[in-house]
């Protein structure tokens, strides 16, 4: 699990992404098995992030969730930065294709 309180974690705020709509191609390993699963989220980046370790591994906090697995009980999810896609950027990149 991810938390700004984790040992070695360096929390911060990235104003550049705060309030941006984003999608997260999420998922993780499944404890007690050799399996993993995928989960998809969409929402708004709060701007909060956590960097952990060296090399830094950045995680962004996604809130105001508009898409989450059925029954997802939390209001937020931490998303690994490489799996976060800013929706506005994606729409801008694909505008010319219309």
């Amino acid at each position: 699990m991810i938390s700004p309180d984790d040992a070695g974690a360096v929390p911060g705020v990235d104003a550049a992404v705060s309030g941006r709509r984003a999608e997260c191609d999420g998922g993780h390993a499944i404890a007690g098995s050799h399996l993993a699963g995928r989960q998809e989220f969409a929402g708004t980046l709060t701007g909060d992030f956590v960097d952990s370790g060296d090399p830094p591994w950045r995680w962004y906090l996604l809130g105001e969730l508009t898409r989450a697995p059925t029954g997802y009980p939390h209001d937020t999810v931490w998303c690994e930065s490489g799996s976060v896609f800013i929706v506005d950027d994606y729409e801008r990149q694909t505008d010319f294709m219309v």
Binding site: D25, G27, A31, A36, Q39, G53, T70, S81, G82
Partner: protein, 366 residues
Amino acid sequence: MPKDPLRTKLVDLLGIEYPVIAFTHCKDVAVAVLNAGGFAVLGEAMHTPDDIAADIAWIRDRIGGKAFGIDLVLPASAPPSGSLDELESKIPDTQREFARQIKEKYNVPDPKGPIDLHTWGGLNQELARAQLEVLLDERVPVIASGLGSPAFVLDAAHARDMLVFGLVGKARQARRQIDAGVDAIIAQGYDAAGHTGSVGTFSIVAEVAAMADDTPIIAAGGVTTGRHLAAALCLGAAGVWTGTLWLASRESDADMIIKQRLLAATADDTTYSTSISGMTMRVLKCPWTEEWSTPEAPDVLPAPYQMLLSADYLQGANDHRREDLMTEAAGQGVGFVTSMKPARQILLDMVEEALDTFERLVGDLA
């Protein structure tokens, strides 16, 4: 067309003979494939750092300096933290009762010991980091990330002359990882075992290959025959990533009951289900997956709650080797896995069939 269509950039990158990667959790399978001219990636996501170091040493002792890979499941998302007790307390009575009814209906035995899920503690980001550090310290030739983006570890790996592969289920994930400098992309289609995206192998491989430039693309999902290998290369892949193919091999340490089920199974015997973990994955159908797909079933819970429910069933089935209850991750190509052969023979049969396929299409390759 080159005279040897199997001489791809992946073959050159890895210094192997055949563009076939075995993804396996079994060290014996990995060593057999490596020594037969293929490549192998050992799945170590659920192993402790010490166990991973020991497995690396074990493999190195048996492959004479050849390159090999280790796969970790880097997490891509994580809910806020919570203790096991807190998580358990949030499971609704409706789902808890449905799980109890399944246990009663099928006479599912209790696990013989504590449920692994409860004692293991779960995979967290800190453990993934510790696992990665072992791979970097050991300079494992190839790190493969089976889920999350490995971009953050690229510089550290490349500084040690290590390669980094990323497995993707969507084209945008591939674009992101290619731009970051990942050394090869495994484009995994819906046909695959275990966790998989919703795009079919035929579509995602071609789409990712079209954007890849010089980055080798490895096709995954349902790849079990030489015809699949030939087709993957025609789609633009430089190799294939295979998993189910090796589960029933002679060297595989899978339970013999699971091997027999795999040998008898067809694509229809697999299901793309959330009932095991709350996250999508393809597994062999079993009473648990089938009951949760009935109209009477309550909603499947999200991860990690559904896994807390299913863990008792799964471990009880495995501990008591109940053939009627057991399941395993299996891809839609499982119908082509029909005999228990040595891994070397599986590889060579695949290569021979791929070459035959190309020859049928274009004539003598010699």
